[in-house]
């Protein structure tokens, strides 16, 4: 059986299981992808991802399939161009496998806010897979694809990677092109990678990274190759920030991170306590800045330019805008647009938006101090405060949902690279540890993660 047909069987089985991780795929497209890769190979192209199926979060545009962002307001939309990351994956020989479900416009931490239904956790269907890139994470964790692209604005790859027991890597802001990633929070958005293993994630990241003339915020800087898994980490200093280990941290999560720390020590790394004093302000800062940027970015969905259109009762242009947007956006997106509009409105801008930008600077400065000469090379923290929570548990309290991102949002605000690595199971649920690196330190971070992965071996209970 061809690779494309085998992949189609896995996708069919995943859909039949009720996982609800895909929004679009077809066997016809998979066979076309396979033929395209064969033609590239026949022409002698170098194909570092030859035949590797990669799923895409459905906020990454492709010309040959719809891009919905899991929103009714974009239902049926087909992009007139491909995202840069898609072009690069295809040139490297990858097969674009499927468009994956997500929280609408990437706004959520549980993939319960999709207009097309929630995504199930791949091993515990009563739980959430995390979000917003929950469909991509579930497809990798369920063994349908070895890798997938998601996007991060405030932890939307690391958090679901932790919940699903896979690897999730967020690169430095500017390392990977955002051209063709539907904008949510433009100063925060990063295309990011899921992999079953550190090596798979590293392979995909090495292909999609690098400058792009179509994204002025990409950095013209060589992509460091990821070296072999080091046998010793002697000389490496790893910081354990006190603020990431609160007294009420889930004991299973704590045990998992302790296991990773022990592995690092056994490999020769030195673990030292550090402090990132503004960590506690990261979530409120994020929930001012990200909704403000979202309110601006999502103004373009107005009933004039994309398929969805509702003519309001007055039949004029303002009624068109209000009716289309009111009917097209789901509850969480509406809530964030309203919060974003509020914090940007006259009389509140300085109190909320400008203040949050100042605090963002303080949060970034915490990391700069930790990574300064004489400081640490990497940070080790839990990725999430608990394993995957139950579906519906936090949907009525938005702040409780936002706090699921408490250990991942500071890194996003600072624009740094970070990753989640599976470190064990707590009562059967995966838990992840987070490594954080200085800007453009992805290669070293991935090498160290590879060493921890090799040392820990197969997943096991840690409590």
């Amino acid at each position: 059986m061809s690779g494309a047909r085998a992949l189609a069987e896995r996708l069919r089985a995943a859909d039949a299981s009720g996982l609800n991780a895909t929004l679009h795929w077809s066997e016809e497209l998979l066979l076309a992808e396979e033929a395209r890769v064969a033609a590239l190979k026949g022409a002698g192209a170098r194909l570092p991802l030859e035949g590797m199926p990669v799923a895409l979060k459905d906020n990454i545009v492709t010309t040959d399939a719809p891009t919905t962002c899991a929103s009714r307001i974009l239902e049926g939309f087909r992009s007139p161009y491909d995202a840069t990351v898609v072009t690069r994956l295809r040139s490297a020989g990858a097969l674009i496998a499927a468009k994956a479900n997500l929280d609408e416009f990437a706004m959520g931490s549980s993939t319960e806010h999709s207009a097309f239904g929630r995504v199930l956790h791949p091993t515990h269907p009563d739980r959430v897979p995390g979000g917003s890139s929950g469909g991509s994470a579930a497809l990798v964790a369920a063994g349908v694809v070895p890798a997938a692209l998601g996007s991060e604005t405030g932890g939307s790859v690391r958090q679901p990677a932790s919940f699903c027991g896979i690897v999730g890597v967020k690169p430095t802001y500017g390392r990977v092109s955002r051209f063709g990633l539907v904008a949510f929070g433009s100063s925060l958005d990063c295309v990011s990678v899921f992999g079953r293993t550190v090596a798979d994630a590293a392979r995909v990241l090495s292909v999609i990274a690098g400058p792009d003339a179509n994204d002025a915020t990409t950095v013209d800087r060589p992509v460091d190759p990821v070296g072999a898994v080091p046998g010793s980490l002697s000389g490496l200093r790893i910081g354990l920030p006190a603020e990431y280990f609160p007294a009420d941290l889930d004991p299973g999560v704590r045990a998992g991170v302790d296991r990773a720390a022990a592995a690092l020590r056994a490999l020769g790394a030195e673990l030292v306590p550090v402090s990132l004093p503004h960590t506690g302000y990261a979530v409120p800062t994020y929930y001012v800045l990200a909704p403000a940027e979202a309110a601006s970015n999502l103004a373009r969905y107005d009933g004039a330019r994309y398929d969805a259109r509702r003519i309001g009762p007055a039949g004029d242009l303002p009624a068109l805008y209000r009716a289309t947007r009111g009917a097209g956006f789901g509850a969480e997106v509406r809530r964030r647009i309203l919060v974003g509009t509020y914090v940007l409105s006259a009389g509140y801008y300085n109190a909320y938006y400008r203040k949050a930008q100042q605090v963002r600077n303080l949060i970034a400065a915490d990391f700069t101090r930790a990574f300064a000469p004489g400081g640490v090379d990497l940070l080790l923290t839990p990725t999430t405060p608990s394993p995957a929570f139950r579906a519906g548990e936090k949907t009525e309290d938005p702040v409780a949902m936002y706090l699921a991102d408490i250990f991942v949002s500071a890194v996003s605000l600072a624009g740094l690279p970070a990753m989640s690595l599976p470190v064990g199971l707590s009562e059967g649920l995966p838990v992840g540890a987070q490594l954080v690196a200085p800007a453009f330190g992805e290669a070293r971070m991935l090498e160290v993660a590879g060493a921890v992965e090799a040392a820990l071996g197969a997943a096991r209970e840690v409590r």
């Binding site: 103004a299 009933g303 994309y306 242009l317």
Partner: protein
């Protein structure tokens, strides 16, 4: 600051967003809770002179804002509700006058 029904409806108008009447009370409570939560930023000692964050790593140098020539495989007529002679068609401005 406490958020009330009028504030939520005012912000919805600014955002060009119809809010179903049945959802207003829930939004008042949820947005009030969010605004109350983010107001803790007041406690951070960052005076008026503190520098706001500049997005992106230091090495980011913005290029000239010159429109590129990205090849499109289909035109806007393929996804716009109404498109004619190079223009997106919308209803009359009507009641916008005077707003």
């Amino acid at each position: 600051m406490k958020i009330g029904r009028e504030e939520v409806l005012h912000v919805a108008r600014l955002a060009e967003l119809d809010v179903p009447a049945a959802d207003v009370e829930g939004l008042v409570a949820q947005i009030g809770r969010i605004v109350e939560y983010v107001a803790q930023l007041d406690q951070v000692p960052a005076g008026e002179q503190a520098e706001p964050f500049q997005g992106g790593p230091e090495r980011v140098a913005l290029r000239e804002d010159v429109p590129g020539s990205v090849p499109l495989v289909r035109g806007p007529e393929s996804f716009a509700p109404e498109f004619r002679d190079g223009l997106f068609l919308v209803p009359r401005l009507g009641s916008m006058e005077g707003e």
